[in-house]
């Protein structure tokens, strides 16, 4: 009788334990994913393929003419898909905003620069962003924009 009660209580206990463990592992995975994407906010702005440079010296800004032609999915596919799926883009906010996706035909009268996107199913998303200075070499101006990462979950 005692052994039966012991086994039942132990099974209930183990049930609760594994439920908490599963929740904890899932939470940990989401935190790791968010953390890696926060690091990604910093590393994307430092990518030499899109960063501004004057006479070989790097500057803290994003060259929009480089952004227009660079396709990160050809070089950085593994870098982006290492921990979780995401959608990455740059958006210009100030001073003048002409809504629209930037292509070679619409540039510079546009404000949305698609950067990377995975075709994944998701139920929710967490948006993280950081301010960036967008450089327009045609008129040598700097405009306020944001690098946005939509973390798909």
């Amino acid at each position: 009788m005692v052994a039966l009660v012991f086994i039942i209580v132990l099974m209930v206990g183990l049930g609760f334990f594994f439920k908490f463990q599963m929740g904890s592992v899932q939470e940990k995975a989401e935190t790791t994913c968010l953390l890696s994407n926060t690091v990604m906010l910093s590393s994307i702005t430092s990518m030499p393929e899109i960063q501004c440079s004057v006479n070989g010296n790097r500057e803290d800004c994003i060259d929009t003419s480089k952004l227009l032609v660079f396709d990160p999915s050809r070089v950085y596919q593994e870098f982006f898909n290492a921990n979780c799926d995401q959608k990455v883009y740059f958006v210009e906010l100030y001073p003048e905003v002409t809504n629209g996706t930037c292509t070679q035909g619409t540039y510079p009268d546009c404000n949305y620069y698609y950067f990377f996107e995975t075709n994944a199913d998701y139920t929710s998303k967490v948006i993280i962003s950081t301010p960036v200075s967008l450089y327009y070499p045609l008129d040598e101006s700097y405009k306020f924009g944001k690098l946005v990462i939509e973390v798909l979950q």
């Binding site: 005692v2 012991f6 904890s24 993280i128 960036v132």
Partner: protein, 140 residues
């Protein structure tokens, strides 16, 4: 029930309590990590926003960084009083970044160029121009 059986049940209860205690401990230990992520993101945001402010073009061949430098010497930028431009443009950029007026402070030296002061925990970034420190702080 024999005395030995009662002791076994008591021992079992103690083990289960330890079990649940550990599960709760690990749950709370995990939640501290997510705060650290938020703070790291905010730190990066302050640093990048100050860089954006410094670089922003305000008129032909002049940046907000030039206006801040002119403001230190009480000068002009884009045919306007430099300090007026700084106050206006900084608040515009910060608002577009999603910060409220009572969430940040912008200083040139000891002079405040934002609408309000704020209290609480702060994160800041700064640079020096013309011997003056230019600081952007966020309260959270």
């Amino acid at each position: 029930m024999k005395k030995g059986q009662t002791e076994i049940i008591g021992f079992m209860v103690i083990i289960l309590l330890l079990f649940f205690g550990l599960v709760f401990y690990f749950r709370f230990a995990n939640s501290a990590d997510s705060d650290l992520t938020g703070e790291a993101e905010l730190n990066l945001e302050v640093s990048n926003l100050l860089n954006v402010i410094k670089k922003q073009t305000i008129c032909e061949d002049e940046t907000l960084g030039d206006a801040i430098e002119a403001c230190v010497g009480d000068g002009f930028a884009c045919d306007e009083k430099a300090c007026d431009i700084v106050e206006r443009e900084v608040s515009e950029i910060v608002a577009l970044n999603g910060w409220e007026e009572d969430e940040y402070m912008f200083y040139i030296g000891e002079e405040l160029y934002s609408p309000n002061t704020c209290t609480g925990n702060t994160l800041a970034d700064d640079y020096t121009v013309g011997g003056m420190s230019v600081r952007l702080l966020i309260c959270y």
